[in-house]
Symmetry: C4
Subunit: 257 residues, 4 copies
């Protein structure tokens, strides 16, 4: 494999499909969201993307088999409203600048070949810890942005950079007959953040008029909150220890001089 390839696994025809991307990134927010959707919707395997711009290792699975790093497309036939979904998630993003552009272009090539007219990209938005983290939106299309705001998102501040695949897909969509929307969940980003993922899913399900049971995410949020609590406790102890040391040192110095 000397360039990025998409290998299709099912030859299906989809009805006005929308591509929803969530690859690893800040707080793993996008990936958690899309993986959850995929499981909850029992989405079916559509295609895989492989690239020489991914890291050069393979992963062993449960049966002792191995596979290259990849991105995966799954599809969901929507019975509730008018758009089928293509869900894109995976192990990794491209490791180089040129690789990022090539992979994003390959994703759009494939999406267009399936008739996609709207791409929604998901990710994290770096903020301090907040009681009620929000969802930040940007779009290539004013009308779609407005719909996202009506579904609970707030508008991204101007000048904000959106890094990686979630940004490039929007930037590159403008050169094609495709609209694009980016939804970023506010997150401190230290550890995987299912709360931010749930916030995005609240917006996206409202926007797409689909119902998805988000209760499974609540359990993840509780677990994540416990980890954060423990980390905060450790940090507090560490700071106390540092303060004690500094005080001891100051006393010693004072004593000497």
């Amino acid at each position: 494999m000397r360039k990025t390839v998409v290998r299709e696994r099912s030859k299906v025809i989809l009805r006005n499909p929308i591509l929803v991307e969530g690859l690893p990134g800040l707080g793993t927010v996008g990936k958690i969201a899309v993986q959850y959707l995929r499981r909850q919707m029992k989405a079916k395997r559509l295609a895989e993307l492989y690239s020489p711009h991914f890291a050069y290792y393979v992963l062993v699975n449960k049966k002792g088999s191995v596979r290259l790093l990849r991105n995966e497309f799954h599809y969901w036939r929507n019975q509730q409203s008018e758009n089928d979904l293509i869900l894109l998630t995976g192990d990794t993003q491209a490791q180089t600048i040129e690789g990022q552009y090539e992979v994003a272009s390959s994703i759009l090539d494939y999406a267009e070949s399936k008739g996609v007219k709207l791409v929604i990209t998901l990710g994290g938005y770096k903020t301090e810890v907040k009681d009620t983290p929000r969802v930040v939106a940007a779009s290539t299309n004013e009308q779609i942005l407005k719909m996202a705001l009506e579904s609970g998102a707030i508008s991204s501040p101007p000048g904000n950079p959106i890094v990686g695949i979630s940004g490039l897909l929007l930037g590159l969509a403008r050169f094609r007959n495709v609209d694009a929307l980016c939804l970023l969940g506010e997150t401190p980003g230290y550890i995987p953040d299912p709360m931010a993922a749930k916030n995005i899913l609240d917006v996206i399900t409202s926007l797409l008029k689909v119902e998805v049971d988000l209760e499974g995410l609540e359990r993840e949020i509780d677990r994540s909150e416990q980890i954060m609590e423990r980390m905060r406790e450790i940090e507090k102890q560490r700071q106390l220890a540092v303060q004690r040391m500094q005080k001891a040192e100051e006393e010693r110095v004072t004593y000497i001089s």
Copy 2:
């Protein structure tokens, strides 16, 4: 997008156009100068250059829309003298060696397609703080260099490297039927330096026999001078603090030993 592309937005025919480049670099000198010209001249959109060698993020604009990093060409129909202008500025330069050569080549390809016979590149030239910073010039054409010197520039010292797009455009122009001139404003380069930009514009307007009101830049210079003043004050305080600490330490050491 897998290689650098120029997307033309207006199909205009220009009269003996000269390309003036000012992309981000030392002290943001070139970019400030060209952006100011563009606003002052009310130059019109001509084309955009996109490249997989730019950083892989997009920027959100005021309306919540997004766009890739890019370089922009604007044109100005010159009523005052014989050459129309193409102004080139933008968000960034290429991030890799090979990308720098590719982007510079793409710029020259496009410039030649518009009939450009002269390219002027603008940037900063690293110097200590000076009361009267100057403009340093180099050119592929002795006659044009002479004209720049007559317009107030001084000749670049030999062996001086000109880094990035402002240098490569000159180096690559020599393989084409295009002349090139580089004007570098002396600058300490710590912060955006509108003074150095104004100095360049003094030379270039004289050289091209165009009149541009530079008063707007004076306000920028005042603001920049205030920032520098504050930074100098902070630095002075910091040095005083360091001296006090060193003195205290010396006394302590003397006392001990």
Copy 3:
């Protein structure tokens, strides 16, 4: 040379050949194993692979001649069982991500052209020092994995990444009509580890039903064990010295304060 090339040195037809790869990596395990096989089997020169993704230096040989870094294919006509072997080892792996994918693809292209249906890759598996290091296996084919386990290997834990050429050959084989097996010898990996190599060879000779005298490796293992012993001794002395210093310092601090 602007891309990876394989130069064939012998035009031979091989009987159901299996490719066994062992290039430099953790503990040099794979390379030691394949080099030993090559010598022991008196395997014959088949082909060489050169790549602009290898490091840019040449090596001087005993006669004062030089050669590029390379990977080498040797073949062995198997009189004991049904598969001839192609042994692949060499100086280096590719130095960049894209280079790793290109070289792995070139190896598979060549292997397929020789009729290879099974690739076995060898390497090291990072563990603490152990009395009885084991051999970890993964495969693209359940049946072949089972045979490896019956030959003494254990199954790789899921989620384990296999880095570099030994992993990529498996990952890429899945897109071709080729099976692949990876055998990794447990090793601390600090120094070349002939013990881990021998453990792999025990598995592979059993698996392939070939007999190879492994006594030569025993000598290497003794020598390596002596080096490790000396290193452990040095480390112990170093730790004692550190402890003495810390104790002296503590006493001094106690004394002062």
Copy 4:
């Protein structure tokens, strides 16, 4: 310019030409040697090589003109013996692995087009300071190596890596109908080393049976020796100062505890 190009400046036919390469490297040995030959022989401009793998800046020359970094070919019509010479030197080597292979390939393409059957590459060989530094040789051709040894060189120790263009030209020559010899002058390599360059030229002039006045290099050697002497003096002073400080500190510590 998107790939490496050679631009020929003179269309001359050369008699059994030998290519002698000396580009920047350890101790600048190769470059000093070839530059000296070029000046001494009044060699004439033949061609220039430009590459997007060179660093992305241009150099200003004495007249305020600029040029890209480049490698230069000059030719010398040999009246003394049977081989004309092509001398290759320049500003830089390629900055990436792939660039090194591409540039070396382009050099050999051009050399072959001029009928070159032998390439001699020059460089430095890292050693401690020595009273009588030697010249180390390696070759793709046993006969030519023998001639180099008879001309005063010694054979390179096996396993020695020859890094960069001087090595790659030998490694790549083997795939072509071209022989190659590498001569490396022993040098500490801290500063440009004209002594090592002269030692190489002693070998090469003897080997090629050409006479070149090397007196000009003697002056360079004297100047270089003075610089080294001053550096050694500075280093000695620095070490004395460090010793004094350590002693003072030890006394203080002793005093406290």
